[in-house]
Symmetry: C2
Subunit: 271 residues, 2 copies
């Protein structure tokens, strides 16, 4: 991989392009918004820019950096124009839709699906930050690629300060992010609704626990609606834990509550 076309130069696409360009990759920015392409070039985050998605055929790797459902919609058109030995990449927040679409497209280009667990509350190129990957977990799902290709990607991921973590399947990925990313969002929304009448009392615990409610709503709906089975499962498991906690409280079971609380504190401390 020497020449990467990044389709969608929003927060994630621009950040990753800028970080990898600093490491020597040649970047072709592709976006439908001319002002975004201008910024990409001005900031030195891309070597070339185009508004035509078919230009991605010129690169030896194509990164889809648009929301999940847009990525799944674009994927068939992109793989159709790609050279057969070019590498397909994406940074979709959930994997079932993109992997199924890739399989249905049946074109066989090498494909590694990525998911950097990084980002901020902003949207678009103006919120991009090439340093956002430092110490971030960076999920790697090899859908159809040689060990060499995956190893090369992992070393590029390490080079920008992130920690590559291999996922065995789209299902494993989607279940893991349901528990660690999607559920915190759902909880933050529910908690914000509950706290509505007590806004003036919102101290640090309430602010921390609801911070992710500030995330871009379009992005969140995109990942929730492409991960319905795993997210609803995670909600159900959480509700069962809450019911157990409520029952211990109602029974005044101080010992049981202490065990639950201490174990949770141990898990959180180890992070």
């Amino acid at each position: 991989m020497n020449h990467l076309a990044v389709v969608g130069f929003g927060q994630m696409g621009a950040s990753l392009a800028a970080a990898w360009k600093a490491g020597g990759l040649r970047i072709l920015a592709i976006d439908s918004d001319p002002s975004v392409l201008r910024k990409a070039l001005e900031r030195g985050w891309a070597d070339e820019a185009s508004s035509a998605i078919d230009d991605s055929a010129r690169a030896d790797a194509v990164l889809l950096a648009v929301p999940v459902r847009a990525a799944a919609a674009l994927l068939p058109d992109v793989v159709r124009v790609m050279r057969p030995d070019s590498l397909l990449l994406d940074v979709a927040s959930t994997k079932r839709a993109v992997v199924e679409t890739y399989r249905r497209a049946g074109c066989g280009v090498p494909y590694v699906s990525l998911h950097p667990l990084a980002g901020n509350e902003g949207t678009g190129i103006d919120s991009a930050d090439p340093a956002m990957f430092r110490d971030a977990p960076f999920l790697v799902l090899s859908v159809h690629a040689s060990d060499e290709v995956v190893a090369d990607l992992e070393s590029r991921i390490r080079a920008i300060g992130a920690r590559p973590i291999r996922m065995a399947s789209a299902r494993e990925h989607d279940a893991a992010v349901a528990a660690t990313i999607h559920l915190p969002h759902v909880l933050a929304y529910a908690l914000a609704h509950l706290g509505r009448d007590h806004a003036e009392l919102a101290g640090r615990s309430f602010r921390d626990s609801t911070r992710v409610a500030l995330s871009d709503a379009t992005m969140v709906l995109d990942f929730l609606l492409t991960n319905v089975p795993r997210t609803t499962e995670a909600i159900e498991r959480l509700v069962r834990l809450l019911e157990r906690f409520r029952a211990m409280l109602a029974a005044g079971d101080e010992e049981g509550l202490a065990r639950f609380v201490e174990e949770a504190k141990r898990i959180r401390t180890r992070l």
Copy 2:
């Protein structure tokens, strides 16, 4: 109020004593641990120190700064030795137990129950910070006190940078903190348990949403177990919101989800 006895020189007692002493109050530190009293004097956070709770009778106001159940246990002994015109204060995290104990004690000293929504994950005098009240909501429940006494307290609360907020009753207080403080703790514990198998994936959203799980477990159990009816109610309301969200997800109701998410984001943004 000129001379304040602070019973319990832990994080909250020491912080509030230090902040108010800087504003001119004379402070008598009372604690069973001699090393705590030594630190209180060395750091200039107290003018005098004693390990005898009866010495609180020498001050014209007594602040119980121990956990809720300890405060309720100490209260009858403290009011027994107080001068009838002295002011009783506490900083209990929940109000039902202390207010009921005060009423049963039937001694009639003036009593204002306080609750600064401030603090850090540490415990004890070494984690105290007189600056922690800056911009913090500071709940004020006048149980039995003249308007002048309450107004004087509120001006002292403002003087240390906090925002006094009047509570109408112990019940109102306990319901409000159940939604904004106790529930975030319960959720953080449940979420930590759910994320246990995915610890390496814990990114910013998971860390933010579970941060309060790091709180001192003894303190948390103390406030949960003295606020069982309001906390279980809050859990039940949250579970109903989660069920509603899960149903919208399962039905693919994008419009309903978008409304829920956008409204939550609006509430959180206003904080």
